[in-house]
Symmetry: C2
Subunit: 659 residues, 2 copies
Amino acid sequence: MKSQCTVEFLPHNRSVEVDVGETLLRAALKAGVHINASCGGEGVCGKCRVILEAGSVDGGLSERLSDEERNLGYRLACLAVVSGDVTLRVPVESAMDRSVITLQATPRRTASIRQMDFDCLKEEGLFIPPVAKLHLRLTPPDANNNMPDVTRLIEHLKQDHGEHRLELTLPVIRKLPAILREADFEVTATVVRPVRDIGRNLILNVQPGDRTAHNYAIAVDIGTTTIYGQLIDLASGSCLAEAGDFNGQISYGEDVISRIMYAEKPAGLAKMQEVVVATINAVLDKIISTASVDREDISTVTLSGNTTMSQLFLGIEPRYIRRAPYVPAASFYPPFTAADIGLTINSHAIALVYPQVSSFVGGDIVAGVMGSGMYRQEELTLFLDIGTNAELVVGNRDWLACTACSAGPAFEGGGIEFGMRAAKGAIEDFSIDPVTFEPMIFTIGDVRARGICGSGLITMAAMLFEMGVINNRGKFQRDLPTPRIRERDGVWEYVVVWQKESQLDRDIVLTEPDLDNLIRAKGAIYSGCMTLLAEVGLSMDMVERIILAGGFGSYIDLEKAMTIGLLPEIDPARVTYIGNGSLMGARMSSLTNRIRHDVVAVTSKMTNFELSETPSYMDKYIAAMFLPHTEIEKFPRLKARIEARGRAMSNGVDAKSEA
Amino acid sequence: MKSQCTVEFLPHNRSVEVDVGETLLRAALKAGVHINASCGGEGVCGKCRVILEAGSVDGGLSERLSDEERNLGYRLACLAVVSGDVTLRVPVESAMDRSVITLQATPRRTASIRQMDFDCLKEEGLFIPPVAKLHLRLTPPDANNNMPDVTRLIEHLKQDHGEHRLELTLPVIRKLPAILREADFEVTATVVRPVRDIGRNLILNVQPGDRTAHNYAIAVDIGTTTIYGQLIDLASGSCLAEAGDFNGQISYGEDVISRIMYAEKPAGLAKMQEVVVATINAVLDKIISTASVDREDISTVTLSGNTTMSQLFLGIEPRYIRRAPYVPAASFYPPFTAADIGLTINSHAIALVYPQVSSFVGGDIVAGVMGSGMYRQEELTLFLDIGTNAELVVGNRDWLACTACSAGPAFEGGGIEFGMRAAKGAIEDFSIDPVTFEPMIFTIGDVRARGICGSGLITMAAMLFEMGVINNRGKFQRDLPTPRIRERDGVWEYVVVWQKESQLDRDIVLTEPDLDNLIRAKGAIYSGCMTLLAEVGLSMDMVERIILAGGFGSYIDLEKAMTIGLLPEIDPARVTYIGNGSLMGARMSSLTNRIRHDVVAVTSKMTNFELSETPSYMDKYIAAMFLPHTEIEKFPRLKARIEARGRAMSNGVDAKSEA
């Protein structure tokens, strides 16, 4: 049985490949075909009728369809799922509808997901294992050969494994005599490779017997909200276990500023450190027990987090991070023994914390840059991690510039009347009928809507703008023939979901103030990128690749994000999403010394700009306070679509008047 | 006033330079002139009469001299002290006495004391300061220059001081933000230099203001019996304070074996470590308070001790040191933070422990080799540290071989009927009248004798042998006309001090079993050296320099030690005494990275021989069980003296019979 099937939509003549089991409604979304739908896929609104013309589907029958309709092949698109190739017709009510049908939404297109992994490293020739486990059968000492135990170990490492420039720790010396004799001189040495060419190989541990098959590392992302950990098998490169948990510091403040303020209290810093270490330890416990590995076999832990999270974890006073001129303590932290800071892995594992660029471009971003491989690419790349604060990096293998801007909480639902985080019931995607202005909505979990999350907000703004429902300043056309656009208490809004089709006791609306906030947020980010590029003598239209990182990026409909001017308009195929870049970078550092080596030079060359200190930023910000921008020429595809829509609407009006 | 005066002895016609205030008796000793004296200098035996012929002395008058004798210039040599140039006549009783007078003892000649110091290092071009303190006035951050604090520090170190390849510790990062701002960005950075050429400069500490004038190090000798510490000013190279204390482990056992046995008990190792650390801390407290330095200004502590002491200090199981095949845990120990092992200097000082060669040639010996500079010399040198165990190193700048042998406790007074450690009342020097066999004794503290210490024992054996009182197997001539040689309970002995002239209630004697023990001790050492040399294809007569280390070496009368065959016969001017070589090496390592660098190669090239595993050792040992050795040809000066004595005795007998 095929896992992918073709779904053809008529009269649009659009086809799309979708997975078996996908709903017809989501297939339509993917194809850029609008079908009225407002109940989130629960089958209660009964609006999303389609007619089966060829092939068959599973389900899609409902009491909202009459027997006659069923026999004619009507199905509810939100309830019917693909089981084979199928041709569907979307009922249209007028010649005008038909004439504009081909102009409907750009197909939904999220970024391709690119996770650097072990195989990528090997293919690129970048795999330089940071930790080796070497099995040894030592010649036991006798009267004629009674060199010290450590000397014997090192001699065998030289002779049997060609090792040189070895050094070791006091704890290894302490345990070696007993282990050698308990294990009849058959042991496994854990050797940590130097990051620098001229460095030494560190014998970090010695274990009885042959433990070469057990060689593990841990990667940790210290997020302000959530802490993720992965247990990595250094032999295969695979992730054996992953777990996450809320950062225990949340109890002391939601955001970095409140954490810093807490740390400024007496004993506050120690408390912040204790709490985050406890969360990390809980995550470690989960992944270690899930993977059922012996803690003794874990040699390194690589952590990354933003500057505040890193300083709190390391017990470094964060006071000056939040005070002008925003000075962090350090870029680079030396490696240290994980146990010294309270991590309960074992007594010997070495911890590395990703370096910071500035108070607002932290190790999480550096990790993303490293993990994504952006720093090795020739193309001019824009790296974006969008949240309440957006961190931006532009550059390529020759140079990198970065900054951070406050986007505000709009993308996380803040400042939006029905905004919410990406959770069950959040409208995550949207389309609008250009004639009737009826919506097609998709919610996370396919349930009735209860709010709008960031990606839904972007899509709504893009669709409303492209369909001429709002102008380039985010204001509604006041005279459109639909009850969904209305003025309430002096504020114009669009009713996305009527109360009766929602989970709420009132209509879910999108207001002009919501759109203002969105435009401010996207304008801050876009102008941040422009400013960065301008500072290095380049412009946004020169961006060849975009990398999205962070929880938000995976849901963004790229064309929509370009339509509102959140992203510059480039081929969506050149946009990749790397997910949790911080965690990926930490994992990559666990897997290869090449990344550990490169990160020093990369971090040093990341030129940081404080936007508040860059006079041109405000001008660029104001210019970005339009949809998509004052200069629509920078968005040629969008411009062409808007012009085509204008022509089609005229034709539609003509067709209607002819009818 | 002159501080040195000439004392001339008649009829010997020997002159000697001595300090003002020296007794005439000690001047005689130094000149190799025998004067009967047996009360230790208390003036009670009245034997040590000399006649003032020119010049004058202070004191020397006693009720044991009649008025007439006083007027004739008689003085008691033990009570009279030198105050100017003087000529003395020693009364001799017979022509025979006169004829053999010139053959009396070789002049007392102890090793010249050579302490390597700061100036030596500078002269030799070896002074590479291991720690620099650098004063900085940083540009404070502002909006246009908000690099991280650490980056700022490093940039200034580069620009203002030409520093490169810098790294720093987490504690420095932790304290830096607050210190910079408290001190208005004027700070002093403590930079530890790398030992290897390719190493990194470690920023170990940062202090507010200008602390460049305060740069200290500590050297510690961890002796089995005594722990010594020195506080070193790295700017001047001078020792600001020194202190010693008994190693607290003594309560758990006198020698290394009993300490190891204690450490094998449950929790015994932790106890041994705790106790020695406590003693070291007490010593540190003393020197730090004596020198009145701020603990914060101390950057390094260098420790050296024998293998067992080092392992106990570091908490390394010493079990295998005392069990065949006598395997120590390690040669080299990595540097570590002193506080981590419980040393209460400060939180950042780095500790270095001298490397070991084998279970019985430890860091104290390596430190002696390093501190003495032996490893940089061209001459074939014999390094000797004599105690219950004697450690021997032979070689030069190209090669080094070492071993340890059990000399037994004879040199420390053990196994000798009236043996005692070097303490007040111990006979430390001795001469014998070749005709009357009356002794001249010297005690530590110039009090009546209560025993014989190691150096006294060597001198007695040498004098008795050279004067023909004992033969080359250490047996007394049975027929000499003196009550001092007698048989008691089947054992032959020489009465060194009659009971009434001693502190004891019986005669102090030297017995044949005492001499047997001494011969075994010196034979073990000499044959150890011979074996070592033979193993590398050389022989004892090729030794060009001797270095003596340890508490014992300063008292040894070199000619006497050569007479009994403890040392090979070389020019005494080529013998140096370095005192506590362990402490000196630790101090040298504190003062220059050159020593820290060289010690790695030197320790690695010190070839260790276990005498028990060297078949030729037993043959050489047996050959060394004579005075001085079966092959007297190896001791040509002694041979010549013995032959001359034989001729003189014949002449003396002739003279006597003519008289």
